[in-house]
Subunit: 291 residues, 4 copies
């Protein structure tokens, strides 16, 4: 398939590479050129303007946030100039307000919008083992399913409304960050009675909490590994903000997310914005006066 791919960040470059390996024609665009050159060596075609990607059969976008996505896809005129019937597979984490805005803009442009946010960090993007939630027109989804199968280990259908996939991503990230806070608080408590953090993590991740969320972040908190962030604290703050904002129009109180917001703001104020999200758990320990 002829695919336009916009956004070759830490996730996007691995995903685009997998599409190339699977034999697809991939036209890439990225703001900075380093990642573009790497992919060209692997067989991709470099585009000069993001609008050229909308000349393919499918456009995949994997940009940082609402603002960047709006600027590059909509304000640039790229979407408006796309050929009718094109499918746009939006795979980034976006706000529900912006997804609504996208739904309207795509309807105007005659482009089919599929929201397909991904779950997993860089390593899973590279190995094609992401989980992918997907929502949009069913026929369009059927058409891109082979691409989703290349990118992920499993696709999770969430219906026709792109918002449904979008909110699933937001809610899951909120749960992930909650798990980090809960683990940090539990470690602050057990450490204060002399239990080694690593013993605690071994125990919980072997029993009630034997799941990736805890297995990835528990040991990082225990070992104070907050450098070399895969998922920065600042990004976590952004994601908690997406949850709070999504809840507002629907009047959904989110007391845990509120605690997360305040604790993340505190951590950012203290200079930890670029640390790994595990720093949120470490801060729960520090807040108790423990090292």
């Amino acid at each position: 398939m002829r695919i336009g791919f916009i956004g070759l960040g830490s996730m996007g470059k691995g995903m685009a590479a997998n599409l190339l390996k699977a034999g697809h024609q991939v036209l890439v665009w990225n703001r900075s050129q380093g990642a573009v050159e790497t992919l060209v060596k692997q067989g991709a075609v470099a585009l000069k303007h993001p609008g050229e990607a909308f000349d393919a059969e499918v456009v995949i976008s994997m940009l940082a946030d609402d603002a960047v996505t709006r600027s590059i896809l909509i304000d640039s005129g790229a979407l408006a100039s796309s050929k009718p019937g094109l499918i746009h597979l939006s795979m980034a984490t976006l706000s529900v307000a912006f997804i609504r805005e996208m739904v309207e803009a795509h309807a105007s442009a005659g482009v089919q919008l599929i929201a397909a946010p991904v779950f997993g960090r860089n390593d899973l993007a590279e190995s094609g083992m992401l989980n992918i939630a997907v929502a949009g027109p069913q026929a369009a989804i059927a058409k891109v399913q082979p691409l989703l199968d290349v990118l992920g280990q499993k696709t999770w259908p969430m219906g026709e409304d792109p918002l449904n996939a979008g909110i699933l991503k937001i809610a899951t990230n909120m749960m992930l960050i909650s798990a980090i806070e809960a683990t940090g608080e539990a470690m602050a408590l057990t450490q204060s009675y002399g239990v080694a953090n690593t013993d605690f993590v071994d125990f919980i991740t072997s029993t009630l909490f034997a799941a990736p969320a805890y297995k990835v972040y528990g040991p990082k908190i225990a070992r104070r590994e907050t450098e070399g962030a895969g998922f920065t604290l600042r990004l976590g703050l952004k994601d908690v903000g997406l949850a709070l904002k999504a809840g507002e129009p629907n009047h959904v109180p989110l007391p845990f997310a509120s605690v997360l917001r305040d604790n993340l703001l505190d951590a950012v104020a203290l200079g930890e914005g670029e640390s790994d999200l595990a720093a949120l758990g470490v801060r729960a320990i520090k807040r108790s006066g423990q090292g």
Copy 2:
């Protein structure tokens, strides 16, 4: 081994039965007689007074809380009258303040105290598949290890100080209740955008949160299954209180536990004290005005 077993509640009766099946001599005491009779039919010897249990080689206690344990083991004179060298295996969930009190009382009575709180609900107690954290004198632990192997699938050593096993239990329960609140909030959010609760639970328990804590409670919240409580909301409130109280002398802020406390109090005030702990998650959904 000759074992005194005190407390045949929903957990204790399954545990005592397993010790009998394994060929041990089990002397049982319980406040109400129904469970005693059931176990006598399985080969147990009924005791008239809890103090008689302290004439065995090992006493196992599995009572409801601090107050009941203090009343039956200490205030009754049972502990004081025990023969020197006896091992007491305390398997209930108790406060750190009371474990400290027990440590002193056992030292005075010349009894070896092992804290060995268990993880798992009734079904795991019956099948001998509990997880057991254990802390106390190492020689005593070595002696009771065969019993722990009968009762649980795995023993998790936490050192010499009974407090270490006690705080592990308290912190893990706090994490479990946090997981229920987080799941409820996430469902309130996704439901408000039209995602089916069961779809959401399927997704999270197959991916980032593929762990017992979420697999047990997620579907209960999604299906509003809050009757027939294995773990009541009132008991959850007690356990969150144990965490908050344990944190106080050590100056450990626990903002998630504070939210849990308030939300559990609200639920109890609204008449849900005897509901399953899953009702905490359901309440997160109701708080947003959704059914």
Copy 3:
């Protein structure tokens, strides 16, 4: 002075009337015509388009929120068409982000912007007894001081930057809503031990909390007076949102405001959006299962 007055809501109409009484020429515009007619009877001149107000010496705006203010003052072209040197006295409660936007737009249009948010409800607007915080170019403030003296009992200078007056308003409203929550929680607690709510309010408002914030809202909570809202719960939620949003770019954690947000969302979800803000305090009592 020749004054354009835009926004004759519950606050604006009393303020405009006072300017007329003080002998000023007042040109009024309002979306709905009822209030316009009332003021015309008192000597005001009715305008057909808000842009005509910008032909006066001073324009006062007192509109509902950011969106309405942007739509009527900026998007309509009114500001852009104003005569150079005009002073705009912005007296509504607006977000810091929008005040920043206004500062830029006014600079482009050559209009002097003064932020002068007011403190007090309708009755104080009518009696000219408002408190007014003011920030902007000092010469412009000096020129409008006679108007501020008509509208308020006292003006509180906050420097040159309109943001300073804006954030003062936002922070004070956050404190007011915090006072309502704190009073509600305290009443829930004392009522549960048999103290009459009115006795409690009499006591606190005669001693430590003998201040308008508590004297206005305390008795309302005690008597469950939540109809006939001067300040609706929905508006309170908006104002707490302004505080949270203002804190975000500066990394200011606001844990009390977060609690307020969740409790207000809950109240709105339960249908109390149009109740008086006192309903927040009443809900604190209801959350404890008390009537």
Copy 4:
């Protein structure tokens, strides 16, 4: 009147001195002797044992907390040995659980218990300008009213049940500490936009919050005056604990008090336990990374 006075701490010594000045016979007991000697010079009689105070017509106790009061009044045998018909005026801040315990112990001893907690710091104790809430047997209150008139500017009758006066004190302190947190958060927010803390405090304490709670603590927070504590942060933590504990059996959620508890624990963990309670507000500012 012949009065036994137990507890000559920072509040008690001023109160006892006022009773002496008013012409009463005051028999004093205190753990440390410095304050006793000062009062003896003013005409008091020193007692060797607290039990001797119970030989007077009225005993006033003003001790630090539950534990000290229990130890000195009950466990020492003092109360049990008192002469029948004695009135005990308990003026300290105590838990509701302990007040209940006192009610029973006094009934057994035939002593009439009046709870009369005081509001105000040392200076008001010295000048006899305290506010006093009072609850107990009405005839007994009538008899001690002249003493209350010496000690305070006003007495606030709260009925027959000592718990009512006790919970009033607890709830009011919770509100006071909430006011400090709210002020600190508001200052963190306004300071982050460049408003001087002193300008902010001047404004709020002249308008909506023109009340002692804010006038005492607002300027202290603004000027970072946290030394020379009249009311320490550690004592504030104890008082918030009294509110949370009082709410528990009655199922009263207290989300603001929960936030206070966590923030106070954090401050104590960071070494501010002996600072003035104003340090709670200062910490709200520090949490945002501001000095």
